[in-house]
Symmetry: C2
Subunit: 243 residues, 2 copies
């Protein structure tokens, strides 16, 4: 602990992306701060044994300063709001006692991350000057790297889209953008593949799941994945005219 309990100075909060999975794809800054701060907060889904973000940093973090925050597996906005509010208060209490704290998120903290909701609550409790957000490598940048598959060249248009229940919503975007990154494919993998085939885009696509982890799948042969149920934790990058 860098500050005594008598020091009234407010600690600093670092919301940080720890990258897509491979611990080496963390930034130098995130790795340094994880070692320097007094507390490391990490979100954990109530149904999981451990936090994926914590897994990524496990070799560099001192376990004694880790505080896991359990979030309920619910879509109920009131319940979630209460959980985020409680989490923000727990963090603010440490900062007010003069401690510095890190908060871990997978990938980049401002790209499809629940960190955004936490921050909404934390900014009510702590001045923004004490909050620093450290960007990270996103899952789709990592997928492109792992597949040696370019995302966008100069002058091209990129869309990054979570796949909704209605896969047809993708059609106009697939027709008008140069590159389309599809996130949250999950159970809709077969329907997405069928749409890509129909539009003549299946052969211009890269599929990647669990990038940087031991069970990673990275392939250009997306059609072979039909019926595989391998859509979880995956990203599909569609690059028009790229073979």
């Amino acid at each position: 602990m860098t500050q005594s309990d008598n020091d009234p100075k407010l600690g600093k909060f670092y919301g940080m992306g720890v990258g897509p999975g491979d611990p080496e794809l963390m930034t130098v800054k995130a790795a340094r701060l994880i070692k320097e701060v007094d507390y490391v907060f990490t979100p954990k889904a109530s149904f999981k044994d451990n936090s994926m973000a914590l897994q990524i940093v496990k070799d560099i973090v001192d376990e004694k300063k880790v505080i896991e925050q359990v979030y309920p597996m619910t879509m109920d906005k009131g319940e979630l709001n209460t959980a985020w509010s409680t989490a923000a208060e727990e963090i603010a209490a440490k900062l007010k006692a003069g401690h510095n704290a890190a908060y871990l998120t997978i990938g980049d903290p401002f790209t499809f991350s629940t960190y955004i909701y936490l921050l909404q609550h934390l900014t009510k409790l702590i001045p923004e000057d004490n909050i620093e957000t450290i960007p990270g490598v996103t899952s789709y940048n990592a997928a492109a790297g792992a597949g040696n598959f370019p995302i966008v060249e100069s002058g091209m248009k990129l869309a990054v889209i979570p796949v909704s229940k209605d896969v047809e919503e993708l059609r106009p975007i697939l027709q008008t953008f140069d590159t389309i990154v599809l996130m949250k494919v999950a159970k809709k993998l077969d329907k997405v593949i069928e749409l890509l085939e129909e539009l003549g885009l299946a052969e211009s696509s890269l599929f990647a799941s669990y990038v940087g982890l031991e069970n990673a799948v990275v392939t250009r042969d997306i059609i072979s994945l039909k019926g595989s149920e391998k859509g979880y934790m995956s990203v599909i990058i569609v690059k028009k005219g790229y073979k």
Copy 2:
């Protein structure tokens, strides 16, 4: 491809993003490899004194192993093609002599980077197994972090668009996406601000230029930038309904 994948003499090539500008926003992997490899190639525009990517790594790289590759400032495709081809051959020669080499790019190597063109030439000379692309933090992820400005929450749609001469092309995208990242704003800054004002989006925008560098500008007051000519090396993030 004159050598087999298993040829122990062929060196490994690492195309790596060194992040948006702050040396600490490099990945741990890029930082490690820059120290380990035998040669560090870095692109340099013919009209500039030094490479920006080289600036980012200057404190960790041994100058003796740096090879700057000068690219002509031209739009002529033939001339550019020759430059990329020559650059790829220079790299391949080092790899074939058994050396490992890094190639530096700003941001992420597969996001609006000329690394993509280099790779097209290099894959003709070297087996793909000897080529590894290491993702990096993009300028827009860094801009969001610097401004504590969320990009996209769960379920939202993101577009990343280089601003062309015809700013009007942005209108339908600004109208249909949740978040729009505008790249290559440059001289079109005033026209972009006018369009954002017309669509009621100026107050839901973040402007950031030279992020992570000493001359960085990060502001939510985009209207104040009219007539400032500060569009160079900037990113604008427009997030609908965010105040």
